[in-house]
Each structure stands twice: as structure tokens, then as C-alpha cells.
Amino acid sequence: MIPRYQKIVFIGLLVVSIVMAVVLVRLRERAHDQLLKGEDLAPTSAPAVAPAEAATLLVANDMDGTLVEVKTSLPLPKDAGARARALLEKLFEIYAAAGAMHPVAGVARPVQQVFLLTVPEGAATNKNGSSTAAGMLAVVNLSGEFADGHPAGIAAESLTVESICATLHANLPQIAQVRFLVNGEVRKTLAGHADLTRTYLTSEIPSTAVTGTQPAGEARGVVQP
């Protein structure tokens, strides 16, 4: 009934379509793996030939709840996202060091990635209902290990969030907003307190860059008699 040549053509097409399906699935898997490993492709530290650049870190101090401006120099990659990640890892190195003013346990890879996205003016509204300024949105993907090992407390967690936002803004002024992910997912809080579901505006972070000591009560500029 069915001519022999039609059978051959049909079987041939079937084989071709199966092969194509397998190839497509393989390609998709490979692309997915590369995306997941994307952070590995971006250089975290510049090649040895790259000169160290000046950077400003805003380092938290648990004793008075302030952010202290620390000038440093470190090799920074050209790519803005990789640059942001290198800055934050330097900041967390300070927190992991013995005798740190804001101790946070050191982990192998505290920041998995920092993605930078352009936000058009007024595209988003913050919690207060005012529209946000134009600029970049930085999405900071922290490692679960870092978040799980973070000390619990309103002050401790807020200071980490604020120092991240302030450090990013100080070195990459185009960053106007910061959002957080932990292991690539939205997490309610950092360690039980600081809200990680909201967008932080770098303009809202109190500019408490102090070099000396201040009375604790005035440190964060809250009391308005």
C-alpha cells in the first residue's frame, strides 16, 4: 500500500528529527551550564599586569552603628558587574578578618554575582510612593553560606546591607538601586531581620562617612528634637 520510497523517506525524516531533538536538548543544557558558570568566566581579580586602582569602601562599625570611609587600592576588572563584585568581596574580607569592627564569618565565595541593569526614570516606585531616579539597578547575588553565617540582629544586618549599598554607590555612582538575591533566589531576610525583599535606594542610605568617633546617639543622624 505505502510505497517503499515513502517508507524510507518517513524513516529518514524520523531519524533526522530525533537527532535534531537530541542536539537541541544538548545545546540548551550546555547554554544553561554556561549561564550558571557565567561568574567563573568573568575575571574576579584583574591580571597581574593591571595596575591597582583606588577605591572607597564604606566599612560598618558595630560599636556605634556607623559606616567608616576606608580608602584602599585593589586590582579591579573593567566590567562594571565584575568590578562591583570585586569591591564587595574586598569589603567582606575586612569583615572576616580577626578583630573586625563588624565581624561576619568569611566564606569562600560570599558574592556569587552582581548584575547591573539600566532602570529608566520613574520606572519603579519605592515603598514611599515616590518614583525613583534614573540609574543602574545592581542585583547582588549573595551566597547562601554567607547569609547563613551572618550574625542575627537588626543593627548587624542593616549595617551589612547599608555598607554594601554605600560601597557600590561610592565607586559606581551610576548605581541608584540595589536588590538582593541569596543563591539566585529572593530571600525574606538576611539572617532574620534585614528585609531583602525590597529595593534599596542608594540615596536613602544615611551618609555617615565618619573618620573619627562620634557620640553614639548622633551617629546615624536620627534624633530630631
Partner: protein, 277 residues
């Protein structure tokens, strides 16, 4: 609703009786804060949410030689809430607590308790191992005038209408802790050397889901250990005497806050919308 139903059988009668029980509880509420100032105490965390682990900052706990048993933040906050409640009750306040035991309670449920109470002040109590002294936090929401912006507030940002008052309340708490050096624990006298130093206070703004939904002057009070200049723990948050000093200072602050509210109410008798200084 329950009154309209004509009970025909015993089970109906029981149902009606059950429906009337909550109504009678609510009926007492206006009476309570019509005569006395209401304070809401929210012992943070509870149930599955233990909060932080405290006691790790004590000498010996880090060295590993003599391990110190850690205590969950949720139980310290409950202890502080219970102790402060009895001090406030003795000073004539009507106290509403969000929890009295180790139960799960989400941010909305806490805010709901606070918002039913029409409170003079709402205190959310936390404890931590980080930093030193007492950390007072006010919502980071931008202040919003309730009188101009309509009668109803968005649930998630209800605190915006009270931020100005919450900042004033934080300032009253700050003064109380500063003054706690001289007269805070009068009567004990035995540990004069230990009690001489003031409890350091720091003030900050932050976004906390529970407090952000509270329609009352609200602050978060986070109790940290007292640390010396070398940042070593001098007094841990689990220290009973330290807790006594803290709840006494908080009670003194709330009495001052009530006095300010009464003075304000006397100078503006027209505004009968609750105790708003």
C-alpha cells in the same frame, strides 16, 4: 448576626453562645483604653523562628574550653516582654502583648494586635549578640501626614503616618537610658561599681515588616551586650541585672511619654483621636 438567628435546638444555642464569646472580648477593649494608656509589647520571633543565638559572646564560649549554653533570641525577648509588662501594669498602663508563650506569629499578626489596641506606644523587642548597649530603631518610611492624606492608611506602610511621633518616642527612650545611670536601679546599691556606667544607646532607621504596618508610635528596641573599649563583652544580654536596668529604663521612658501625651492632650482638647502627643 448571631442575635438574629432564632435558636430551635440545643446545638443552635451553643453556636450562638460561642459566637457571642469573641464579641464580649472586643467589647472590653474600648473600656480598657478609655481610662488607661495602652502600651503594646511585641516579643519578636517565637515558635519556629528562634531569632539569633545569644550567649556566644561570653568569655569562654569562643575558646571552646568551657562552652557556654546559648539561648535563643525568642526566649530573651519573651522574658523582657513579661518583665516589662509587670512593671508597666504596676505603673497604671494597660499592656497588650503580641505573645505570652513560644508561638509562631507573623509580622501581619503582630501589627494586627498593635492596631486593635489604639496604643500610646508600641515596642518591638529584640536581642542580639552584635554591637553594644541598646539599639533603638524607627521605621525608615518617609513621614506622611494622616490628616491630609485621607483617613485610611495602606497596611504595609501604616507606620508612615506615625514616623514623626515614633522619632520623638525614640528620643524619649534615648534620654531615659542616659538618665538610667543615676537613678535607674535605685535601691539595689550593692553593685554600684558595675552599674555606674551608662547603657550605650544608638539610634537608627530601618525597614521591618511588622513595625512598618503598625499604626501607633512604634520603635524596635534591640538589646545587645555591653562591651568594653576592647569590644569584649562586659555584660551579656542574658544577665538578669542588665535586663532589670533595661526594663526599668523603658518603663521610665513610657511614663515620660504618657506625661507628654497628657500635656499635649490638655493643650489641644479638641483632638480626641487617641493619645497622640
Amino acid at each position: 448576626m448571631a442575635v438574629i438567628v432564632k435558636p430551635r435546638t440545643g446545638s443552635w444555642r451553643l453556636l450562638v453562645a460561642l459566637l457571642l464569646v469573641p464579641a464580649s472580648i472586643w467589647a472590653q477593649a474600648p473600656l480598657a483604653h478609655g481610662t488607661r494608656s495602652v502600651v503594646v509589647l511585641d516579643a519578636a520571633h517565637g515558635g519556629d523562628d528562634s531569632g539569633g543565638q545569644l550567649g556566644r559572646g561570653l568569655p569562654g564560649s569562643s575558646a571552646g574550653e568551657s562552652p557556654v549554653a546559648t539561648v535563643a533570641e525568642k526566649s530573651v525577648t519573651l522574658t523582657l516582654s513579661v518583665r516589662l509588662r509587670s512593671l508597666l501594669a504596676a505603673r497604671g498602663f494597660a499592656v497588650v502583648t503580641t505573645r505570652e508563650s513560644n508561638v509562631n506569629l507573623d509580622a501581619d499578626a503582630r501589627a494586627q494586635v498593635a492596631n486593635h489596641a489604639l496604643a500610646l506606644a508600641c515596642l518591638s523587642l529584640h536581642a542580639t549578640e552584635s554591637g553594644t548597649g541598646v539599639h533603638v530603631f524607627v521605621s525608615s518610611l518617609a513621614p506622611k501626614d494622616t490628616r491630609s492624606g485621607g483617613r485610611f492608611l495602606a497596611w504595609k506602610t501604616a507606620q508612615a503616618g506615625y514616623v514623626t511621633q515614633s522619632l520623638k518616642l525614640a528620643s524619649v527612650l534615648n534620654s531615659a537610658f542616659e538618665q538610667s545611670v543615676a537613678g535607674g536601679s535605685a535601691g539595689s546599691g550593692s553593685n554600684a561599681g558595675v552599674e555606674a556606667a551608662a547603657i550605650p544607646v544608638s539610634l537608627g532607621r530601618t525597614s521591618l515588616p511588622g513595625v512598618d504596618s503598625m499604626a501607633c508610635p512604634a520603635v524596635s528596641v534591640e538589646v545587645a551586650p555591653v562591651r568594653g573599649a576592647d569590644r569584649q563583652v562586659v555584660t551579656d544580654v542574658t544577665d538578669t541585672q542588665y535586663q532589670t536596668r533595661i526594663v526599668e529604663a523603658l518603663a521610665a521612658a513610657l511614663m515620660e511619654w504618657r506625661t507628654e501625651a497628657d500635656t499635649e492632650a490638655a493643650s489641644h482638647p479638641k483632638s480626641s483621636g487617641g493619645p497622640q502627643p
